[in-house]
Amino acid sequence: MSLLPAPDPTTLDPAHLVGAGGALGALARHEVARRIGSRPFPFSTLVVNVLGTFALGLATFVGLDGSALLFVGTGACGAFTTFSSFAFETVRLWETGERARAAANALGNLVGAGAALGAAWLLAAALG
């Protein structure tokens, strides 16, 4: 028995759901970056983008919506993955003469995210 009423997720402020998910996503991305690092190739951004795209794809394909999608999709997956770091790292590789790595990074994130969506779709189909 609880003295407080159980929170009803449907009455939570969307900004709180998105914000809380965003804070968790950013912390998780920070942890991945601390462990994997980004030299000589920005693997940590590639990893968060592929994993986060897989998670968002799975959440969407299994039919998550409303508050759950705001928290998991818009908040956590949206913040866990990043375009700005990817763009900066790609430009930085290119301008420091690492053009093959820059191209591999640009293409790798795209192909990785596409494959992640395909895998999420297959898993969602198998589950449901």
């Binding site: 804070a23 950013a26 991305r29 983008n49 986060g52 818009t74 913040a79 700005s84 795209l110």
Partner: protein, 144 residues
């Protein structure tokens, strides 16, 4: 290294979480104002421009404090921009729009970083690096 001090680690986590809360919410606002591909594109391009400015400022001069960089770049801007939503929205678009969105987001995103770099270069050329501000106070041209 001071970075390994437990309080510094906790400080960084707190700043990253606060930045993530705010960045995700601003992206959500962009999605409400411009649903679909447009809101995501706007967030990714603006975020890339701002991150380009912050990180090139660090390379050129480093006036901004490392704590500011943590909250602004790893926290706020990296959460404001997103790859997952960009990828999913592209995949859910008709083939022509898919290609246009991928090419457009990449092109404008890279252009955003380069614009941020140019702005950082101008800011550093105009106002100088760390230490130059002290020189200004002792009789140099006042900063505009």
């Amino acid at each position: 290294m001071t970075e390994s001090h437990p309080l510094r680690r906790i400080e960084t986590y707190a700043l990253v979480a606060i930045g993530g809360f705010a960045g995700a919410n601003l992206r959500y606002l962009a999605a409400l104002l411009a649903p679909g591909l447009a809101g995501t594109l706007a967030a990714n391009v603006l975020g890339s421009l701002a991150l380009g400015f912050v990180l090139y400022e660090a390379i050129y001069a480093g006036v901004l404090a490392p704590e500011t960089r943590s909250v602004v770049s790893t926290g706020f801007l990296s959460s404001f921009t997103t790859y997952s939503t960009f990828a999913l929205q592209s995949a859910q678009s008709p083939p022509g729009l898919l290609v246009a969105n991928v090419v457009g987001t990449y092109a404008f995103g890279f252009a955003g970083v380069l614009t941020g770099r140019a702005l950082a270069r101008r800011a550093v050329d105009r106002w100088g690096g760390p230490g130059d501000a002290d020189a200004d106070e002792s009789g140099g041209e006042p900063a505009p």
